[in-house]
C-alpha cells in the first residue's frame, strides 16, 4: 500500500508525519534540528528518500541538511551561497539602494530527474543550483541581471525567492516568484529570464501595472499543463494560460483575495485551492473562520470548505509554502498554520481533520506519495 510522508518545517524544527495510503492514522516524528527555524523540507521526485532541509537561525545563519533515508538520519552539506560577481544593490524599504546580502534559503526545488540536482531560492532574492547533492551551490545570476534586480524591494518578510516551478516535461523551463519583485520565467535552464507580470496590478505601487515590484506570494502549476500557472498575489488570485505572457484575475466570489498559498489538485488541473486571509494588515482568516476555498473551474467560482476546520475564534495564518497535495485517489490536501496545526483532507478538501495540533508555528508543508 502507498505511504504518505508529510514534511513540515516550523519555527523550532522539522517534523515528519506519516501514514499509510488510508490516511487515517498518523505518526508524528521530530523535532529534527530542534530550536532552529526550518524554512522548508522537500523530497526528490527522482528518489523519495533524498530530502533537503533549510535550517536557519539569526545567530548561526544557514545550514543545509540532506537525508538519504527519508529523514531517519541527516547530514549537513554545503551552506556557502556566494553571489556571482559584484551583485550591486536592490531597493530598500525606504527606496534607497541596499547591498545584496545572503540571509537564508526559503525554498528547495529538487530536479524531477536527478536527486543530486536541486535549486535553492534564497533571501536576498536569487536562484542557486547544486548538482552534487547540496555540497556546493552556484548562482544563476542572469535572473538578477536580466530582470531589473536593482528595482526589486523586500516585502515584510524579506526579499525572498520563495517559489520555484520546474516543467517536468521540459526542465529548461522554470518559473520563479520573488517578494516583492514579481514572477519570472526561463526557457533555457536559467541562462536568461523574462519578467512575466503583464496583467498584474498592485495598488501599493506608484505605477500599479509596473513590470516589477509586485508582491507575488505563491505560484502553482499542474504538471500536465506547464503553460497554465496559478498565482496568489498579495491581493488577487490570478491565472495565466500562456506561460505568464498575460495574467487575468480569477478571485471571483472569494471573501478576501488576500492570502499566501495556492495549490492545484493532483488529478484535476482546473481544481485549485486557496486560504483567504482578511487583509495584509490583519493576517488571519475573515470572521475568525478557517476556510479553504476550492474552485473546480480554474478560478472565478469558489466554494468554502469548512467541514472539520474551526469556524469560530480562529486567528491563525497559513504561510505561502504551507500547503501541498498528495497524488493518491482521492487527492489529499494538507496545510499548516502559524498556530502549529497541520490539517489534512483525504477527499480533495470535502472534509478535514488535524494530523498534528501543537507544533511550533508552521512555515512550510510538503507531501510525498511513496508507492
Amino acid at each position: 500500500m502507498a505511504k504518505v510522508r508529510v514534511l513540515v518545517g516550523t519555527r523550532k524544527g522539522a517534523f515528519i508525519i506519516t501514514s499509510d495510503g488510508a490516511r487515517r492514522d498518523w505518526k508524528v516524528e521530530g523535532p529534527h534540528f530542534g530550536g532552529w527555524e526550518v524554512m522548508h523540507v522537500k523530497g526528490s521526485p527522482a528518489d523519495p528518500d533524498r530530502l533537503y532541509a533549510s535550517q536557519w537561525t539569526g545567530w548561526h545563519g544557514q545550514v543545509v541538511q540532506r537525508s538519504d533515508d527519508g529523514g531517519a538520519s541527516w547530514e549537513p552539506v554545503g551552506n556557502a551561497f556566494g553571489y556571482e560577481g559584484v551583485p550591486g544593490t536592490h531597493q530598500w524599504y525606504d527606496g534607497t539602494p541596499h547591498p545584496w546580502e545572503f540571509k537564508r534559503v526559503w525554498h528547495f526545488e529538487p530536479s524531477h530527474h536527478d536527486p543530486d540536482t536541486v535549486f535553492a531560492g534564497v533571501e536576498d532574492a536569487a536562484l542557486f543550483r547544486s548538482t552534487d547533492g547540496g555540497h556546493s551551490w552556484t548562482e544563476l545570476p542572469a535572473l538578477r541581471t536580466d530582470s531589473r534586480g536593482n528595482q526589486w524591494m523586500p516585502g515584510a518578510g524579506g526579499m525572498c525567492l520563495h517559489t520555484i516551478l520546474i516543467d517536468p516535461g521540459n526542465p529548461k523551463r522554470m518559473y520563479v516568484a520573488i517578494s516583492a519583485a514579481g514572477a519570472f520565467r526561463t526557457d533555457d535552464g536559467g541562462e536568461s529570464w523574462r519578467v512575466v507580470t503583464r496583467g498584474l496590478s498592485s495598488n501599493f505601487l506608484p505605477e500599479p501595472e509596473a513590470p516589477v515590484g509586485h508582491c507575488v506570494h505563491n505560484l502553482t502549476m499542474h504538471p500536465s499543463r506547464p503553460d497554465t500557472v496559478f498565482m496568489q498575489k498579495h491581493w488577487d488570485v490570478m491565472r495565466t494560460d500562456d506561460a505568464g505572457e498575460m495574467w487575468r484575475e480569477v478571485s471571483g466570489n472569494l471573501p478576501s483575495d488576500f492570502g499566501f498559498p495556492i495549490a492545484v489538485h493532483a488529478h484535476e488541473p482546473e481544481t485549485i485551492y486557496v486560504v483567504p486571509i482578511h487583509s495584509d494588515s490583519q493576517h488571519y482568516p475573515p470572521e475568525g473562520k478557517l476556510r479553504v476555498y476550492r474552485s473546480r473551474t480554474g478560478g472565478d467560482e469558489w466554494e468554502a470548505l469548512t467541514a472539520g476546520l474551526p469556524q469560530r475564534d480562529c486567528y491563525v495564518n497559513i504561510l505561502r509554502d504551507a500547503m501541498a497535495v498528495d497524488s493518491l485517489d482521492s487527492c489529499g490536501i494538507y496545510f499548516g498554520t502559524t498556530g502549529g496545526q497541520v490539517y489534512a483532507s483525504a477527499d480533495s478538501g470535502d472534509t478535514w481533520r488535524p494530523i498534528a495540533e501543537h507544533l511550533p508555528g508552521v512555515l512550510s508543508v510538503e507531501v510525498q506519495t511513496i508507492p
Binding site: G35, W36, W59, H60, G61, V63, P76, N79, A80, G82
Partner: protein, 100 residues
C-alpha cells in the same frame, strides 16, 4: 602545536555532534582567526555559523569571551590571552541572549 579549548553554544554542539568542549591544535601563537580556522577544518559543518563565508566576519549575534574579557572586537589576528593559549581557560563562543 598548541591545544586550545573551545566552548560552543548548544546549537553548535548539536550541529557538530559533540557533547562538551572541543579541543583543536593550532600552529604558532593562537589567535581567534587561527583557532576558528582549525575548528572549521575539523568540523566543516560549522563553517558559516560563527563567521561568514568569504569575509570571515564574525556573525552579528556571536561573541567571543575568555578570561572574563569580551574579545569580540579584538582584531582576529590578535594573540589570545595566555590562559587560553596554555589551556587553563577555554575560548567561549557565545550566542546573544534572547528570550520572550
Amino acid at each position: 602545536m598548541t591545544t586550545i579549548r573551545i566552548a560552543l553554544p548548544v546549537h553548535l554542539r548539536t550541529l557538530a555532534r559533540v557533547d562538551d568542549e572541543l579541543r583543536v591544535e593550532v600552529d604558532g601563537t593562537p589567535t581567534i582567526a587561527s583557532v576558528l580556522d582549525a575548528l572549521e577544518a575539523g568540523y566543516p559543518m560549522l563553517r558559516g555559523t560563527i563567521r561568514d563565508h568569504g569575509t570571515d566576519r564574525r556573525r552579528a549575534f556571536i561573541r567571543f569571551f575568555a578570561c572574563g574579557q569580551d574579545l569580540s572586537h579584538d582584531p582576529p589576528d590578535a594573540p589570545l590571552p595566555e590562559a587560553v593559549a596554555s589551556g587553563a581557560d577555554a575560548l567561549c563562543v557565545i550566542g546573544a541572549i534572547a528570550g520572550g
